[in-house]
Protein backbone atom coordinates (compact mmCIF):
# COMPACT_ATOMS: atom_id res chain seq x y z
CA UNK A 1 0.00 0.00 0.00
CA UNK A 2 3.04 2.29 -0.15
CA UNK A 3 2.87 5.05 -2.80
CA UNK A 4 5.19 4.52 -5.74
CA UNK A 5 7.39 7.55 -5.01
CA UNK A 6 8.23 6.24 -1.54
CA UNK A 7 9.98 3.27 -3.11
CA UNK A 8 12.73 5.80 -3.74
CA UNK A 9 12.78 7.32 -0.25
CA UNK A 10 15.97 7.46 1.77
CA UNK A 11 16.56 8.09 5.46
CA UNK A 12 16.64 11.82 6.09
CA UNK A 13 20.17 13.03 6.66
CA UNK A 14 20.61 14.50 10.10
CA UNK A 15 22.87 17.48 10.24
CA UNK A 16 25.90 16.75 12.36
CA UNK A 17 27.06 20.31 12.26
CA UNK A 18 26.80 22.26 15.48
CA UNK A 19 25.84 25.85 14.98
CA UNK A 20 28.85 27.99 15.66
CA UNK A 21 26.70 31.03 16.21
CA UNK A 22 23.86 32.23 18.39
CA UNK A 23 21.03 34.64 17.72
CA UNK A 24 21.45 38.12 19.13
CA UNK A 25 17.97 39.62 19.49
CA UNK A 26 19.45 43.09 19.87
CA UNK A 27 21.24 42.92 16.54
CA UNK A 28 18.59 40.63 15.02
CA UNK A 29 21.52 38.66 13.64
CA UNK A 30 23.41 35.48 14.45
CA UNK A 31 26.83 36.14 15.89
CA UNK A 32 29.91 34.00 16.30
CA UNK A 33 31.45 33.32 19.68
CA UNK A 34 33.96 36.11 19.08
CA UNK A 35 31.15 38.57 18.38
CA UNK A 36 31.51 38.73 14.61
CA UNK A 37 28.40 38.53 12.45
CA UNK A 38 28.03 34.98 11.16
CA UNK A 39 26.57 36.00 7.79
CA UNK A 40 29.75 37.89 6.97
CA UNK A 41 31.91 34.78 7.34
CA UNK A 42 31.22 33.10 4.00
CA UNK A 43 33.83 30.41 4.48
CA UNK A 44 32.15 29.33 7.70
CA UNK A 45 28.71 29.42 6.12
CA UNK A 46 29.96 27.28 3.27
CA UNK A 47 31.51 24.82 5.72
CA UNK A 48 28.34 24.52 7.79
CA UNK A 49 26.05 24.25 4.80
CA UNK A 50 23.37 26.24 6.56
CA UNK A 51 22.34 28.16 3.48
CA UNK A 52 22.07 25.23 1.10
CA UNK A 53 18.97 23.62 -0.29
CA UNK A 54 17.75 21.26 2.38
CA UNK A 55 16.17 18.24 0.86
CA UNK A 56 14.06 16.66 3.53
CA UNK A 57 13.43 19.84 5.44
CA UNK A 58 10.86 19.29 8.17
CA UNK A 59 9.30 22.67 7.87
CA UNK A 60 9.86 23.99 4.38
CA UNK A 61 9.67 22.44 0.98
CA UNK A 62 10.61 25.50 -1.01
CA UNK A 63 14.28 24.76 -1.36
Amino acid sequence: MQPFALNYARPAAESEATAAYVYDSGLQLNVLLDGRIAACDHSLIRELGTTTSTAGSKTHFDD
Binding site: N30, T50, T51, A55, T59
Partner: protein
Protein backbone atom coordinates in the same frame (compact mmCIF):
# COMPACT_ATOMS: atom_id res chain seq x y z
CA UNK B 1 9.29 52.99 7.40
CA UNK B 2 10.21 49.51 8.51
CA UNK B 3 10.94 46.22 6.80
CA UNK B 4 9.29 43.27 8.54
CA UNK B 5 11.03 39.91 8.20
CA UNK B 6 9.17 36.76 9.16
CA UNK B 7 11.65 33.97 9.81
CA UNK B 8 13.30 31.81 12.44
CA UNK B 9 16.21 32.95 14.55
CA UNK B 10 18.53 30.33 13.10
CA UNK B 11 18.01 31.60 9.55
CA UNK B 12 21.49 32.87 8.77
CA UNK B 13 20.48 33.36 5.15
CA UNK B 14 18.08 36.07 6.29
CA UNK B 15 21.00 37.57 8.20
CA UNK B 16 22.72 38.18 4.87
CA UNK B 17 19.87 40.53 3.94
CA UNK B 18 19.60 42.14 7.37
CA UNK B 19 23.28 43.11 7.13
CA UNK B 20 22.56 45.07 3.95
CA UNK B 21 19.45 46.70 5.37
CA UNK B 22 21.40 47.76 8.44
CA UNK B 23 24.15 49.19 6.29
CA UNK B 24 21.66 51.32 4.41
CA UNK B 25 19.96 52.49 7.58
CA UNK B 26 16.60 50.88 6.86
CA UNK B 27 14.72 49.96 10.05
CA UNK B 28 14.11 46.22 10.40
CA UNK B 29 11.93 44.18 12.68
CA UNK B 30 12.52 40.46 12.53
CA UNK B 31 10.24 37.98 14.21
CA UNK B 32 9.12 34.40 14.08
CA UNK B 33 5.35 33.79 14.11
CA UNK B 34 6.12 30.64 16.12
CA UNK B 35 6.72 32.99 19.06
CA UNK B 36 3.21 34.49 18.87
CA UNK B 37 1.90 34.66 21.57
CA UNK B 38 4.89 35.00 23.86
CA UNK B 39 8.03 36.59 22.51
CA UNK B 40 5.93 38.20 19.81
CA UNK B 41 2.89 40.30 20.68
CA UNK B 42 0.37 42.15 18.54
CA UNK B 43 -2.53 44.51 18.84
CA UNK B 44 -4.83 46.02 16.23
CA UNK B 45 -7.72 48.43 16.66
CA UNK B 46 -10.47 49.03 14.13
CA UNK B 47 -12.29 52.12 15.32
CA UNK B 48 -14.07 55.02 13.59
CA UNK B 49 -13.29 53.72 10.15
CA UNK B 50 -9.56 53.43 10.64
CA UNK B 51 -7.00 50.87 11.73
CA UNK B 52 -4.11 51.17 14.14
CA UNK B 53 -1.96 48.14 14.75
CA UNK B 54 1.34 47.26 16.36
CA UNK B 55 3.73 44.36 16.53
CA UNK B 56 6.28 43.80 19.25
CA UNK B 57 9.30 41.51 19.30
CA UNK B 58 12.64 41.56 21.07
CA UNK B 59 11.89 44.89 22.69
CA UNK B 60 10.99 46.51 19.38
CA UNK B 61 7.58 48.01 18.70
CA UNK B 62 6.50 48.72 15.15
CA UNK B 63 3.38 50.23 13.68
CA UNK B 64 1.76 47.93 11.14
CA UNK B 65 0.79 50.92 9.00
CA UNK B 66 4.45 51.92 9.12
CA UNK B 67 5.65 48.82 7.31
CA UNK B 68 7.11 49.37 3.86
CA UNK B 69 7.53 45.70 3.05
CA UNK B 70 7.09 42.21 4.47
CA UNK B 71 9.57 39.46 3.65
CA UNK B 72 8.04 36.05 4.27
CA UNK B 73 11.29 34.18 4.45
CA UNK B 74 11.08 31.03 6.65
CA UNK B 75 8.37 31.75 9.22
CA UNK B 76 7.58 29.17 11.85
CA UNK B 77 4.06 27.94 12.40
CA UNK B 78 2.19 30.55 14.45
CA UNK B 79 1.97 29.69 18.16
CA UNK B 80 4.25 26.67 17.74
CA UNK B 81 6.23 27.78 20.80
CA UNK B 82 3.27 29.00 22.81
CA UNK B 83 3.03 27.90 26.43
CA UNK B 84 0.00 25.78 25.56
CA UNK B 85 0.16 25.16 21.81
CA UNK B 86 -2.83 23.77 19.97
CA UNK B 87 -4.19 23.67 16.44
CA UNK B 88 -6.85 26.14 17.50
CA UNK B 89 -4.31 28.60 18.90
CA UNK B 90 -2.24 28.27 15.74
CA UNK B 91 -5.22 29.20 13.61
CA UNK B 92 -6.16 32.08 15.91
CA UNK B 93 -2.61 33.43 15.84
CA UNK B 94 -2.24 33.00 12.09
CA UNK B 95 -5.52 34.77 11.42
CA UNK B 96 -4.62 37.65 13.71
CA UNK B 97 -1.09 38.17 12.40
CA UNK B 98 -1.50 37.58 8.69
CA UNK B 99 -4.98 39.08 8.68
CA UNK B 100 -3.68 42.39 10.00
CA UNK B 101 -0.62 42.35 7.75
CA UNK B 102 -2.70 41.65 4.66
CA UNK B 103 -4.54 44.90 5.22
CA UNK B 104 -1.53 47.11 5.77
CA UNK B 105 -0.63 47.98 2.19
CA UNK B 106 3.04 46.99 2.47
CA UNK B 107 4.81 45.31 -0.43
CA UNK B 108 5.25 41.57 -0.01
CA UNK B 109 8.01 39.18 -0.90
CA UNK B 110 5.98 37.07 -1.54
CA UNK B 111 2.34 37.76 -0.86
CA UNK B 112 0.79 34.76 0.94
CA UNK B 113 -1.83 34.24 -1.75
CA UNK B 114 0.76 34.21 -4.52
CA UNK B 115 3.07 32.02 -2.45
CA UNK B 116 0.36 29.49 -1.71
CA UNK B 117 -0.55 29.14 -5.37
CA UNK B 118 3.04 29.11 -6.55
CA UNK B 119 3.92 26.14 -4.34
CA UNK B 120 1.84 23.81 -6.49
CA UNK B 121 4.23 21.98 -8.79
CA UNK B 122 1.57 20.99 -11.32
CA UNK B 123 0.51 24.63 -11.55
CA UNK B 124 4.15 25.58 -12.08
CA UNK B 125 4.49 23.16 -14.97
CA UNK B 126 1.41 24.52 -16.72
CA UNK B 127 2.42 28.13 -16.21
CA UNK B 128 5.90 27.39 -17.54
CA UNK B 129 4.35 25.83 -20.62
CA UNK B 130 2.13 28.85 -21.16
CA UNK B 131 5.12 31.14 -20.85
CA UNK B 132 7.00 29.18 -23.49
CA UNK B 133 9.59 27.56 -21.23
CA UNK B 134 10.59 24.04 -22.29
CA UNK B 135 9.04 21.52 -19.86
CA UNK B 136 10.05 17.85 -19.91
CA UNK B 137 7.19 15.47 -20.69
CA UNK B 138 5.47 14.88 -17.36
CA UNK B 139 2.68 12.66 -16.06
CA UNK B 140 0.95 13.00 -12.69
CA UNK B 141 -1.39 10.09 -12.13
CA UNK B 142 -2.92 7.50 -9.85
CA UNK B 143 -3.61 5.17 -12.80
CA UNK B 144 -0.98 2.40 -12.95
CA UNK B 145 -1.87 1.72 -16.57
CA UNK B 146 -1.31 5.36 -17.51
CA UNK B 147 2.09 5.24 -15.80
CA UNK B 148 2.97 2.05 -17.65
CA UNK B 149 2.00 3.53 -21.01
CA UNK B 150 3.92 6.72 -20.26
CA UNK B 151 7.00 4.63 -19.45
CA UNK B 152 6.66 2.88 -22.80
CA UNK B 153 6.58 6.25 -24.57
CA UNK B 154 9.39 7.70 -22.45
CA UNK B 155 11.54 4.81 -21.25
CA UNK B 156 13.99 7.01 -19.35
CA UNK B 157 12.00 8.51 -16.47
CA UNK B 158 12.48 10.13 -13.10
CA UNK B 159 10.04 10.20 -10.21
CA UNK B 160 9.72 12.95 -7.63
CA UNK B 161 7.20 14.16 -5.05
CA UNK B 162 4.30 16.14 -6.47
CA UNK B 163 4.48 18.57 -3.56
CA UNK B 164 8.22 18.67 -3.13
CA UNK B 165 7.64 17.76 0.52
CA UNK B 166 9.19 14.85 2.31
CA UNK B 167 7.51 12.36 4.67
CA UNK B 168 8.18 12.89 8.36
CA UNK B 169 6.78 9.75 9.93
CA UNK B 170 9.51 8.59 10.01
CA UNK B 171 11.65 11.37 8.50
CA UNK B 172 12.70 10.45 5.01
CA UNK B 173 13.95 12.25 1.92
CA UNK B 174 12.49 11.57 -1.50
CA UNK B 175 14.98 12.85 -4.04
CA UNK B 176 14.28 13.01 -7.72
CA UNK B 177 15.25 9.49 -8.78
CA UNK B 178 15.58 7.49 -11.97
CA UNK B 179 12.86 4.92 -12.45
CA UNK B 180 14.11 1.41 -13.07
CA UNK B 181 13.40 0.18 -16.63
CA UNK B 182 11.40 -2.78 -15.34
CA UNK B 183 9.50 -0.83 -12.71
CA UNK B 184 6.17 -2.18 -11.46
CA UNK B 185 3.76 0.76 -11.47
CA UNK B 186 0.97 -0.89 -9.48
CA UNK B 187 1.84 1.26 -6.42
CA UNK B 188 0.94 4.36 -8.42
CA UNK B 189 -2.63 3.63 -7.31
CA UNK B 190 -1.66 4.37 -3.70
CA UNK B 191 -0.67 7.99 -4.23
CA UNK B 192 -0.42 10.64 -6.95
CA UNK B 193 2.84 10.00 -8.74
CA UNK B 194 4.87 12.47 -10.77
CA UNK B 195 6.84 10.87 -13.60
CA UNK B 196 8.99 12.99 -15.87
CA UNK B 197 11.20 12.33 -18.85
CA UNK B 198 14.78 12.47 -17.62
CA UNK B 199 16.86 15.22 -19.13
CA UNK B 200 20.41 14.07 -19.79
CA UNK B 201 21.78 17.23 -18.32
CA UNK B 202 25.25 18.60 -18.63
CA UNK B 203 24.59 21.26 -16.02
CA UNK B 204 22.15 22.38 -13.36
CA UNK B 205 20.95 25.95 -13.54
CA UNK B 206 19.73 27.93 -10.54
CA UNK B 207 18.13 31.19 -11.57
CA UNK B 208 17.32 33.58 -8.75
CA UNK B 209 14.77 36.27 -9.56
CA UNK B 210 14.51 39.28 -7.27
CA UNK B 211 12.00 41.78 -8.53
CA UNK B 212 13.23 42.61 -12.03
CA UNK B 213 16.69 41.22 -11.48
CA UNK B 214 17.71 37.81 -12.72
CA UNK B 215 20.88 36.11 -11.55
CA UNK B 216 21.69 32.76 -13.10
CA UNK B 217 24.25 30.27 -11.83
CA UNK B 218 25.43 27.08 -13.48
CA UNK B 219 26.93 23.90 -12.06
CA UNK B 220 28.36 21.35 -14.44
CA UNK B 221 27.48 17.71 -13.92
CA UNK B 222 27.96 14.29 -15.39
CA UNK B 223 24.85 13.29 -17.40
CA UNK B 224 24.90 9.90 -15.71
CA UNK B 225 25.38 11.19 -12.19
CA UNK B 226 22.78 11.53 -9.44
CA UNK B 227 19.70 13.20 -10.88
CA UNK B 228 18.94 15.39 -7.87
CA UNK B 229 21.60 18.07 -7.52
CA UNK B 230 20.87 18.32 -3.78
CA UNK B 231 22.10 14.75 -3.33
CA UNK B 232 24.85 14.67 -5.93
CA UNK B 233 28.43 14.42 -4.76
CA UNK B 234 30.27 16.95 -6.84
CA UNK B 235 33.22 19.27 -6.57
CA UNK B 236 32.00 21.37 -9.47
CA UNK B 237 31.33 24.91 -8.29
CA UNK B 238 28.35 27.10 -9.02
CA UNK B 239 29.42 29.83 -11.42
CA UNK B 240 27.57 32.88 -12.72
CA UNK B 241 26.20 32.42 -16.21
CA UNK B 242 24.43 34.70 -18.65
CA UNK B 243 20.95 33.59 -19.46
CA UNK B 244 19.54 33.48 -22.96
CA UNK B 245 17.47 36.63 -23.62
CA UNK B 246 14.44 34.59 -24.73
CA UNK B 247 14.56 32.60 -21.54
CA UNK B 248 14.75 35.85 -19.57
CA UNK B 249 11.68 37.09 -21.36
CA UNK B 250 9.77 33.90 -20.58
CA UNK B 251 10.83 33.84 -16.96
CA UNK B 252 9.73 37.44 -16.63
CA UNK B 253 6.33 36.41 -17.97
CA UNK B 254 6.23 33.59 -15.41
CA UNK B 255 6.95 35.75 -12.36
CA UNK B 256 4.59 38.44 -13.57
CA UNK B 257 1.75 35.96 -14.01
CA UNK B 258 2.55 34.26 -10.71
CA UNK B 259 2.76 37.66 -9.00
CA UNK B 260 6.07 36.74 -7.41
CA UNK B 261 8.64 39.22 -6.19
CA UNK B 262 11.11 36.39 -5.58
CA UNK B 263 11.59 33.02 -7.17
CA UNK B 264 14.35 30.42 -7.37
CA UNK B 265 14.09 28.53 -10.67
CA UNK B 266 15.70 25.19 -11.31
CA UNK B 267 16.55 24.22 -14.88
CA UNK B 268 18.38 21.28 -16.40
CA UNK B 269 20.69 22.22 -19.27
CA UNK B 270 20.94 19.51 -21.92
CA UNK B 271 23.68 18.82 -24.45
CA UNK B 272 22.12 21.30 -26.89
CA UNK B 273 22.21 24.07 -24.31
CA UNK B 274 18.45 24.08 -23.81
CA UNK B 275 17.29 25.06 -20.34
CA UNK B 276 14.49 22.70 -19.30
CA UNK B 277 12.18 24.07 -16.62
CA UNK B 278 12.01 21.85 -13.55
CA UNK B 279 10.44 24.03 -10.90
CA UNK B 280 10.26 27.46 -9.32
CA UNK B 281 10.57 27.60 -5.56
CA UNK B 282 8.95 30.78 -4.34
CA UNK B 283 11.13 30.84 -1.23
CA UNK B 284 14.10 28.85 -2.46
CA UNK B 285 17.46 29.08 -0.77
CA UNK B 286 19.96 31.53 -2.21
CA UNK B 287 22.76 31.74 0.34
CA UNK B 288 24.75 28.87 -1.08
CA UNK B 289 24.65 30.42 -4.55
CA UNK B 290 25.77 33.83 -3.32
CA UNK B 291 28.58 32.35 -1.25
CA UNK B 292 29.93 30.40 -4.23
CA UNK B 293 29.33 32.88 -7.04
CA UNK B 294 29.50 36.25 -5.34
CA UNK B 295 26.23 37.21 -7.01
CA UNK B 296 24.63 40.06 -5.04
CA UNK B 297 21.37 38.28 -4.25
CA UNK B 298 21.07 39.36 -0.62
CA UNK B 299 21.80 42.94 -1.59
CA UNK B 300 19.16 42.74 -4.30
CA UNK B 301 16.58 41.48 -1.82
CA UNK B 302 17.50 44.21 0.64
CA UNK B 303 17.16 46.86 -2.05
CA UNK B 304 13.80 45.49 -3.14
CA UNK B 305 12.52 45.45 0.43
CA UNK B 306 13.83 48.96 1.06
CA UNK B 307 12.46 50.65 -2.03
CA UNK B 308 9.03 52.18 -2.41
CA UNK B 309 6.63 50.59 -4.85
CA UNK B 310 8.00 52.36 -7.90
CA UNK B 311 8.94 50.70 -11.14
CA UNK B 312 12.60 49.95 -11.55
CA UNK B 313 14.59 49.29 -14.69
CA UNK B 314 14.83 45.63 -15.59
CA UNK B 315 18.22 44.12 -14.97
CA UNK B 316 19.45 40.75 -16.14
CA UNK B 317 22.53 38.79 -15.10
CA UNK B 318 23.49 41.40 -12.57
CA UNK B 319 24.18 43.98 -15.26
CA UNK B 320 22.16 46.91 -16.46
CA UNK B 321 20.82 45.07 -19.46
CA UNK B 322 17.31 46.23 -20.18
CA UNK B 323 14.95 43.51 -21.34
CA UNK B 324 11.69 44.46 -23.03
Amino acid sequence: MTVLILTGEEDVTADMVVVHLNASGVPVVRLDPADLPGGVALSGEYVHGSFRGHLSSGGRLVSIEGLRSVWVRRPGTPAARAAMPSAWLTEESAQALYGMLRGCGARWMNHPDAARRARHKPWQLRLAQRCGLPVPATLITTFPQAAQEFAERYPDLVVKPVSGAHPQDPPRAVPTSRVAPDADFSAVAFGPTLLQRRIAKRADIRLTVVGDRMLAARKECDPESEVDVRFAVSDAPWRPVDMPPRTAERVRSYVRTADLAYGAFDFAEDADGTWWFLECNQSGQFGFVEVETGQPIARGIAEWLAQPAARRQARVNGANTAVP
